[in-house]
Amino acid sequence: MNINELQEIARQVRASIISNSHRTRTPHLGSCLSCVDILVAAYFHGLRVDPKNPKAPERDRFILSKGHGAPALFHVLALKGFYPESMLESYGQDGGVFAEHPPIPDHLPGIEAATGSLGHGLPIGLGMALSARIQEKNYNVVAVLSDGECNEGSVWESAMMAASQKVNNLLVIIDFNKWQATGRSEEVLALSPLMDKWRAFGWEAHEIDGHDMLQLTQSMSRVPNSKGRPVAVIAHTVKGKGVSFMEDDNNWHYRIPTADEVSAAFKELGVKL
């Protein structure tokens, strides 16, 4: 799939997420929009996954450790064909399977781990990456973390173990949108220099524009890592990316768009309502 096609999918996903948020009155729009491009590059370019065989032993594993980006993941998995898009109509409904965070794998095809409490996805992903070595399989593990999530000590516990174990099939992508729920991530708990932190923890680290499809697709091929190290990609992103009045405005962590705002957003995205 070429870059233009990936960008087109990302546009469609953004539109779906926005209308979904309005329809179901569910939050985390800003967080979803900031990671859409990462998810699209992963599922439509980097990951070796087969929606018809979601439990294939050699598949790559993807964990959305920032579980509050679930609406983005749910739409990408549907587009990829893990389940019909029509299933998403039950999002947030009583008795349905789509909560505001990813459920356990038994409950939805394509999900590798239930997340939502931050700081869990990387340790689980590390366990999966080590399992590939133990079981002599060739898959990679990709975990997407938020910058706020890097507040959690378990992230850094895991980073140290991945380095000591010289895990070469583990890729962490930080959706670095500079915000967490209630403030600038740099001000809440000093994060910078984020790339140097990962390097100091023994990882190979790179910085990219997290909305540039070319850079994202290139990042996906950094694992397996030839130097035998885990890889962190610091993806600079914009919270609310794609809609001018949502971009870098942290109110959209919890705000629900009105019908007028949905129309304006669709217009900007160039997607028909």
């Binding site: 356990i104 409490s117 689980i124 366990g127 000591s164």
Partner: protein
């Protein structure tokens, strides 16, 4: 007990390539044999939250991780990882808490664990085991590896006496009758079984015949045995090296209150709702909380109306 664990897990891992042993920077020398014969040993460092998540990731990949660390650090320290990564995902991670209860009395309250049964048994999907001796431990470990979901097993440290001279038949969820008796039923869980057995022997001189049950499984609760016992005995005493809040006694009390027509009165022995500030040996700590032959016999006799309390 820890030597029995190290020996048994080494043997089991030799024949089951799915078994992975994870330790939180403890067990120096204890796992030398395992490490020598098997590359599937991971010292995860002093980072228990990560260790629990790693184990869950391994179990989601088809392996059978077994975690071994001092009880508070593999329970209270990483409780959310146990709840979300292990129990919610319903993966077969076996969590072994060593030095549980008051085994490490001398190390101070940071190393005591009199809350673990309470907080682990409340988690959905979790099986909770408390073997009495090395023999029960080996059998519990083998049985746990056959389950498809998470297991927590609290064990002692070292030097606990072997009660079962030969291997009993052990099934998870069914207690073991260690001694027959007709006047009172003493229910023991974990490493207090030797004290409970001696209590039963001392009651003989008072013309009281005591049955002893070893509840190596705290959850799922052996309701069949409990129904039988509470129907036959006027008095049932639960003894545990755990807080009287929420442990096996608490669990039986929750069950007991929902039953109709059972005659047995329930009394419980366990630790107080407090941190033990004084330094002391495990025996000292047990004496402090009345987990002794003398105190248990005395209260049983009083409850049976043989003496005044």
């Amino acid at each position: 007990m820890r030597n029995a664990f190290a020996d048994e897990i080494t043997k089991l891992a030799a024949i089951d390539p799915r078994i992975v042993l994870l330790s939180g920077d403890i067990g120096n020398r204890l796992f030398d044999k395992f490490k020598k014969s098997n590359p599937r040993f991971f010292n995860c460092g002093v980072a228990e939250a990560n260790m629990m998540g790693v184990a869950a990731g391994m179990a989601l990949s088809g392996l059978r991780p077994v975690i071994y660390t001092i009880t508070p650090f593999t329970t209270t320290r990483c409780f959310e990882q146990i709840r979300v990564d292990v129990c919610y995902h319903k993966v077969p991670v076996i969590i072994v808490g060593t030095g549980s209860g008051l085994s490490y009395a001398r190390l101070g309250p940071t190393h005591h664990s009199c809350e673990d049964l309470a907080i682990l048994r409340v988690l959905p999907n979790m099986t909770v085991l408390a073997p009495a001796d090395g023999a029960e431990l080996r059998l519990c470990l083998r049985a746990a590896l056959k389950l498809k979901g998470p297991v927590y097993m609290r064990i002692g440290k070292k030097g606990e006496p072997l009660i079962h001279k030969k291997n009993p038949e052990l099934r998870i969820g069914r207690s073991i009758t260690v001694r027959e008796g007709s006047d009172v039923c003493l229910i023991s869980t974990g490493t207090l079984l030797p004290v409970v057995m001696k209590t039963a022997e001392s009651l003989v001189s008072q013309k009281i015949s005591a049955r002893v049950e070893s509840f190596h499984t705290v959850k799922p609760l052996d309701q069949e045995t409990l129904t039988e016992v509470f129907s036959h005995y006027a008095l049932v005493a639960v003894v545990e090296e755990h807080s009287r809040i929420g442990g096996l006694g608490g669990s039986i009390a929750e069950w007991r209150v929902r039953q109709k027509g059972l005659k047995g009165e329930l009394i419980g022995f366990g630790t107080e709702d407090e941190f033990m500030h004084e330094v002391g040996s495990q025996d000292y700590a047990r004496r402090k909380y009345g987990l002794t032959v003398e105190n248990i016999s005395h209260r049983v006799l009083a409850a049976l109306g043989k003496i005044t309390a």
